[in-house]
């Protein structure tokens, strides 16, 4: 490996990489070695158009752009010299020559590289008197993205993203010189399943998502590390929380999982957290068959009564469970302990599948399908068979995936059971056949670990508290186990 010296630090760098790539791979870029840049992106091809990353290399007469300069053994680089500083100031002045300076009404303000570097390298006044180039302010490039031409610095990250990642290529720079502008072909809008990533790669406020535009100021957001739970990929996200609600997901870089991307469907899946169809209160069915809201303690007590009665009458084998592939490993471990305590092995997890897209989106549309399998909750076919054959009296259901077509296709097969105990986050037809309904929490509301399709276990903290009284499923199941262990004869005999 070549050795280079950057600002007096000797670094071993990967052969054949560029300076910026090498710094990025060593984790030093903007984290010890500040080489500001706009057009360079770690996951896109080199463009070399913004000219901001110029550095001084000993023995080379002119400054070189670090994004397109390959490392060489013995190279001595200076990133903080007076020459470099002046070059950055010059580049910033040119990039800002036509900038509308509309930060107060710009959605990017607060997370804008133009603002950041203008503070570091910008002049505090303009030396130009010419009018600024006017541009179109609200161009709908497609169903998800709005473009502000005046703010664009033509770094072409969005153009390269569309060509290189989804390989759809909708965006181009048309014309040339000071008439250059980002556009789409007439009748072919920016519309692909990864389109909203262009707003993330845009270093300025030119590209914004229609979803997040003008919703909340970014400095009002608490950004907590989280995971997208839409499929089994486990894409890393920042969960942006403000006013007690999740306002957005943005991709969080993880080169092992999602690099710096997320699909549009996954990005918008944060909406499920604040959705109006959340189950918000525990309820039990009364003697007239109506659901009555109760305390969570009473709901757990009722669930325990149902399980206890069935076990005493017909033995533990008539109790079955369907684990949620959306629950955390911690939740599912509690479910496993509960089932072991009861003494039943009839369990599985229904995982809804769709078409994978060859990029991020996996066939299994559940964040912890692999984790559920690893904990022994596999093919639910046997559970359904046993339900249809009358061998199940009490069914503990986490999640509503079993209603999907390849599984039960509806609630009819559940109507003849003694009791369905439902532990779920969102309302569904299951409530009509449930004897007990207990609200659960989404991952962002409880934290925990999930195992992605490749077996990678990822743990994230809770990002917010739900607005209603709900407990993590694991906590509910632990209380249910506590309620049962006291009285289950099979268990106490076994322990004695």
């Amino acid at each position: 490996m070549p050795t280079i010296t950057v600002d007096g630090r000797r670094l071993e760098v990967p052969e054949g990489s560029t300076l910026l790539q090498a710094l990025d791979e060593l984790g030093l870029l903007m984290n010890g070695v500040d080489v500001p840049h706009y057009c360079w992106h770690p996951k896109l091809s080199v463009d070399g158009s913004c000219r901001l990353c110029q550095v001084e290399i000993e023995g080379v007469p002119k400054l070189q752009i670090a994004c397109d300069t390959p490392v060489a053994d013995g190279m001595v680089v200076h990133t903080t010299s007076e020459r470099v500083q002046r070059a950055r100031e010059g580049v910033m002045e040119l990039l800002l020559v036509n900038h509308p300076l509309d930060c107060p009404i710009c959605d990017q303000a607060g997370e804008c590289k133009l603002q950041d570097y203008a503070v570091d390298y910008g002049l505090d006044h303009a030396r130009t008197r010419e009018p600024r180039r006017p541009g179109r302010k609200r161009v709908e490039l497609g169903p998800t993205i709005v473009f502000d031409e005046e703010r664009c610095i033509l770094c072409r990250r969005c153009v390269r993203f569309c060509r290189e990642v989804p390989e759809t290529g909708e965006l181009v720079v048309e014309n040339r010189g000071d008439r250059s502008r980002i556009t789409t072909f007439p009748g072919t809008p920016l519309d692909n399943p990864y389109s909203m990533n262009v707003a993330d790669v845009c270093p300025v406020g030119a590209l914004t998502t229609r979803d997040f535009r003008f919703k909340v100021r970014v400095w009002d957001l608490d950004e907590v590390p989280g995971l997208c739970t839409g499929c089994s990929k486990g894409c890393n996200v920042h969960v942006g929380v403000a006013r007690g609600a999740v306002q957005r997901y943005t991709p969080r870089r993880n080169d092992q999982v999602n690099e710096t991307w997320i699909c549009d469907e996954g990005r918008l899946s944060y909406r499920e957290i604040g959705a109006p169809d959340r189950i918000t209160r525990p309820a039990v069915r009364d003697a007239e068959g109506r659901m009555q809201p109760v305390s969570i303690a009473r709901a757990i007590e009722r669930a325990a009564e149902r399980i206890r009665a069935a076990v005493l009458r017909e033995g533990p084998a008539v109790v079955a469970a369907l684990a949620s592939p959306h629950a955390t490993n911690e939740d599912l471990t509690e479910l496993r302990r509960l089932l072991d305590g009861i003494g039943t092995a009839t369990s599985g997890a229904a995982v809804v599948e769709g078409e994978p897209d060859g990029l991020l989106l996996q066939a299994e549309r559940a964040g912890n399908a692999r984790g559920a399998r690893d904990l022994g909750f596999g093919d639910p076919g046997l559970v359904f068979e046993k339900i249809r054959g009358g061998g199940v009296r009490v069914l503990l259901v986490m999640g509503r995936d079993l209603l999907a077509e390849p599984f039960l296709g509806g609630t009819d097969p559940l109507a003849s059971l003694d009791a369905v105990i439902l532990l779920d986050t969102h309302r569904s037809a299951l409530e009509q056949v449930a004897d007990v309904v207990i609200p659960g929490r989404m991952l962002a509301e409880k934290g925990g670990s999930m195992t992605n399709h490749a077996g990678l276990v990822q743990r994230v903290p809770a990002a917010l508290e739900p607005a209603f009284d709900a407990h993590a499923e694991g906590a509910v199941l632990a209380r249910l186990r506590a309620a049962l262990e006291l009285v289950l004869p099979a268990r106490s005999e076994g322990a004695a």
Partner: protein, 167 residues
């Protein structure tokens, strides 16, 4: 990354067999097919007069490019047109030398004479008037070109006579 997210198949105008064959001959001359894009666009414009969006789609299909990539090339070169032009293209050079010798006045006079602005075509479709950057004839300024021919050392009456003589 390998993607399955292929852009939708565009509806395209059909290019004539002769044109298609000429484009294929150009493609055969380059190591990368897209190297022949400029040559192909010239052939298309020579035959059709302009390269409207449906035509650009057809060309993109031949080269396996996104139509937007063809637009990018078309818009970069001001000798390509995406809208129909008049039978005669009259372009007055307004670069430095010609402007110093009265090219801008010349252009204004032609605008008045033809009753159109630079960039427009006469209603009868006879003349498209426009300006052009340096055509390399600074020693003979001011000048204009009509199609591929240069006309040099002009003044107002001479330019008007030229334009009036166009069929």
């Amino acid at each position: 990354m390998v993607s399955t997210l292929v852009a939708q198949a565009p509806e395209a105008t059909v290019l004539s067999d002769e044109l298609r064959a000429a484009i294929d001959r150009e493609i055969a001359r380059f190591p990368e097919p897209r190297g022949a894009l400029l040559a192909a666009l010239r052939l298309v414009q020579d035959e059709l007069g302009c390269i409207a969006p449906p035509t650009a789609r057809a060309v993109a299909e031949i080269f396996g490019l996104h139509p937007a990539e063809v637009l990018e090339v078309l818009s970069f070169y001001n000798l390509f047109h995406t809208e129909p032009q008049g039978r005669h293209e009259v372009r007055v050079c307004t670069n430095l030398a010609c402007s110093l010798r009265g090219a801008r006045t010349l252009l204004r006079e032609l605008e008045e004479h033809l009753g159109i602005r630079a960039g427009q075509t006469t209603p009868d479709g006879r003349v498209t008037l426009g300006h052009e950057e340096c055509l390399g004839a600074c020693g003979y300024a001011p000048m204009l070109r009509i199609g591929d021919r240069y006309h040099e050392e002009l003044d107002g009456p001479a330019a008007r006579a030229l334009v009036d003589g166009l069929p």
